[in-house]
Symmetry: C2
Subunit: 442 residues, 2 copies
Amino acid sequence: MNALLTDLYQLTMAAGYWQAGKCGEVAAFELFVRRLPANRNFLVAAGLEQAVDYLLNLRFEPEEIGFLRSLPQFANVEAGFFDYLREFRFTGDLFAAAEGTPLFAGEPILLVRAPLIEAQIPETYLLAQVGFQTLVATKAARIVEASGGRAVVEFGTRRAHTPQAGVFAGRAAFIGGCAGTSNVLTGMKFGIPVFGTSAHAWVQSFPSETEAFRRLQALLGPATTYLIDTYNTLDGARRAVALGRPFWGVRLDYGNLMELSRAVRSILDEGGFHDAKIMATGDLNEYKILELVAGGAPIDVFGVGTELATSSDAPSHGAVYKLVQLETGGEKRYTAKYSEDKSTLPGAKQIFRFPDRDLLACSWECHMGAEALLRPVIIGGQLVAPLPGATEAREHARAAIGRLPRKLKSLFEVEPPWPVGRSVALEQLSAEVRRNEMEVAR
Amino acid sequence: MNALLTDLYQLTMAAGYWQAGKCGEVAAFELFVRRLPANRNFLVAAGLEQAVDYLLNLRFEPEEIGFLRSLPQFANVEAGFFDYLREFRFTGDLFAAAEGTPLFAGEPILLVRAPLIEAQIPETYLLAQVGFQTLVATKAARIVEASGGRAVVEFGTRRAHTPQAGVFAGRAAFIGGCAGTSNVLTGMKFGIPVFGTSAHAWVQSFPSETEAFRRLQALLGPATTYLIDTYNTLDGARRAVALGRPFWGVRLDYGNLMELSRAVRSILDEGGFHDAKIMATGDLNEYKILELVAGGAPIDVFGVGTELATSSDAPSHGAVYKLVQLETGGEKRYTAKYSEDKSTLPGAKQIFRFPDRDLLACSWECHMGAEALLRPVIIGGQLVAPLPGATEAREHARAAIGRLPRKLKSLFEVEPPWPVGRSVALEQLSAEVRRNEMEVAR
C-alpha cells in the first residue's frame, strides 16, 4: 500500500544499503521544520494518525516490485533485494509529539528509529503528510485566533491541492481549532462535524430567489442558511425575513462584509430575528477576519476556504527528515550536517517543555519539572496504544496553545520568540560530532 | 468511490433538487479561471484524465449513504432520495480542452452538461483536481521556459500538500514540460520517466565520502549521480573524479550554484570528464534558474521541488464552476451572475482559437479558420474515445505553447495579453440574460 509513493532515490538507496550489508544498522531520523514560516510564532503538529497508518501498512506488492525491476536504475541490483522487499515490514519505533502540540523551529515532530532501509523509505511520505497537516493546523490556529471566539468552518476542498489534500486539510483545520469542515468524507472518516449552506447555482436554478429560499427551508428546516447575494444582498435578507421561521441564518459571500453584515443584521433584527446568524465567506484569511472582528462586524461564523486549505501565505515550510544516528553492532555513531545555513544537531532527541521555555536534549536525558513531548507511538513495529482521535487532538491543541504566552498568538512575528535551549549534553555531543565529521571529510 | 469527497452542500442541494422534482432538468456548468495568477500569461490545462476517471466511476456505496442518513442535514429528506443515490451514475456529457492546451482567463477548461444533480455533485472534486494539476502544469511551463533547453525534473513530493498531491504534481509537471519526476508511483501509474540521485543520509551512513561514492557507483554504474556537498563540494567533485568511470554526473544541493557549478565543471573537465553532467537542486524556482542560465552557469539539469509541487508563488488560482444554462422539458434557460467583481457569461460556450486570438462563443456557433478547443470527451455517460496519455499531453503542450507569440512566454505579465474576444451572439445572449435576471431579482 503506497510503497511506491516515494522518491526513487529512497528505493535505489535502499538497494544500495542492502547490497552494502547495512540491513542490520539501526538509524534514527528526525522530522522537523528548520525555520517557522513568516509571521508564525509556533506550529501545531498534525498528521500523526496518517503517518502511523502508513508505517503499519507499508508493503510492496508483487506488481510494484515488478515495476521497480523494470527500471534501468535497478538493472544491477541483486535479486535478493527484491526478495527482501517482498517481506518488507516496518519493524522499528516511532516517537512523536501528540497531534495538536505547539512546536517550534528545530524541534522534532517525529523521530523514527528503525533498520536503516525501513527508516529511509518513509521519508517522502512522512514529510508530505505530516508537513502538510502541520501547515494547515498552524494556519487554522491563526484564523481561529483572529476570529475572537466566533466559529470558523473549513470550506477549502475545492481549492486544495487535489481532492485528497482537501480531506486532510479538513482534518488538520479541525485540529487547529475549526468547528468543522464542508468535506463530507473528512466527516465520515474522522468523526468531524460537517457543515454546508447552498450555492448560487441553487438560487439560479429556481424561477425566483424566494422560491429557491422556500425550497431550501422545506429541506433543511432550522438548519437553513440562505445564500443571499445572488442578486442583491439586502433584498435577499428581506426575502429571508419574509419567509419567517424556521431558519438558522444567512450567508454573505462577497462585497464589503463590514457594511453588508451591519445592514443585514438590521434587517434581521427589524424582522424580529435576533437569533438568526450571519455567516461570511469569500476569500477570507486571518487578517481580513481580524479587521472585521476589530470593526465590530456582526458576523457569527466565518467560512474559510482557499487560504486555509492551501496555507496560501506560506504554502510550504521546508520540513526536513535528517539522519541523526546510526547503530552498527552495538556501536552508536552520531551524525549531523554543519553547512552554514542548513546545519543539524546529532543524536536522537527529546523535547522538554517547561512552563516558560523548551529544552532540546539527548533522548536519554531526564529533566525535572518539564514535560517530555516525544512519546513512544510504535515500538518494534507495533502500535503502543490507540491514538487519540481528531476531537481529542483538537482539545489538546486548544489547551496547549492556551498555555502559551498571549503574545505568541500574535498574527505577526514577536520578539523574543519562545525560548528553545539546548542541554549541555546535546551541545557537547554536537561539538564532538563536528570534530569527527571534519576528520571524515579530510 | 469518492462520492463523499465533496462539500456537504453539493449533497444537500442534490436532495433539494430531487425533492423539488428537478431531476429531469439538464444543467451546464463551466469550470474556468477568472483571472490568471500574477505573472502568468497563460495556463496549461491538466487533470482531465483524473476528472474522467472520477465521473465514470462515481458511485454511492451503502456505507456512504448510511453516513448521509445519519447527518442532521438529511433528517427531513425523503427516503426516495437515498434510493436515487444508490442507483446514481453520471449519465451526462463532458466537453474539455485537451490536456496541455494553453488557456486564458475566462475560458472553460471543462464544460459539464448533465441532469442537474449529476452536474452539481462533481463540482468540488473537479475544481480541486483540474485546478491543482493546471496550476502545476502552468508553473512547470514557466520553469522549463526559464531553463532554456536544459532538462527540468520534478522532485517535490515531500513538500506537496499530502503524498497523493505529489503523485499528481509529478504528472502535471511532466505535462507542463518536465523531463520526469522522482515520484515512483507517478512513473508507474502514468508511464512517466523517474529520476533520482542519492541523499546526504547515504553519504553520512558510510565511514567516508569516497566509500559512499564507490558503493553508489557499484550500484548504479553509468547512471551514478554523486551528491557532492555533504562535507565540501569541491572535495566531493575531486573524489568523484578520482573514482573514474562510469558515472553520469554530480549534484549540487546548496550554496552559490553559479560559482560552485563553474568550479565543479573545471574539476570535472581537468579530470577528463567533459561528458559528466552537473545537476542543481535546492529551493530553485524559475527566477533563480533564469539567473543561473543567463549567467552561463554550467548546469545541465535542474531538479525543482517545493516551488513546483506547491506552485508556491501562486498556490491557488481561484478556479470556479458556474451554472450557465438549464434545460427543462425542451425549454432552455440561460443563467449568469452580474456582480461587479465576479460576473459570468451565460450559456454553454466554445473556445475558437485563431492564429492570433481566441474567440469565446456560444457552443452552437461555427467560425472558419479557427480550432474549436472544447471537444466531446464523455457523451451520455460513455467515454467517446481513449484519452491521450501524459506523454501525448506533454507533446501537445510543447507544440501548442510553441505556437504562442514569444512574448507570452515571459515570466512576467505582458501587455497587451493574448486577445480573447466574445462573439456577437454571446454578447447578445449576455445582454438578454442580464435583463431577465434583473426581472427575477425584482
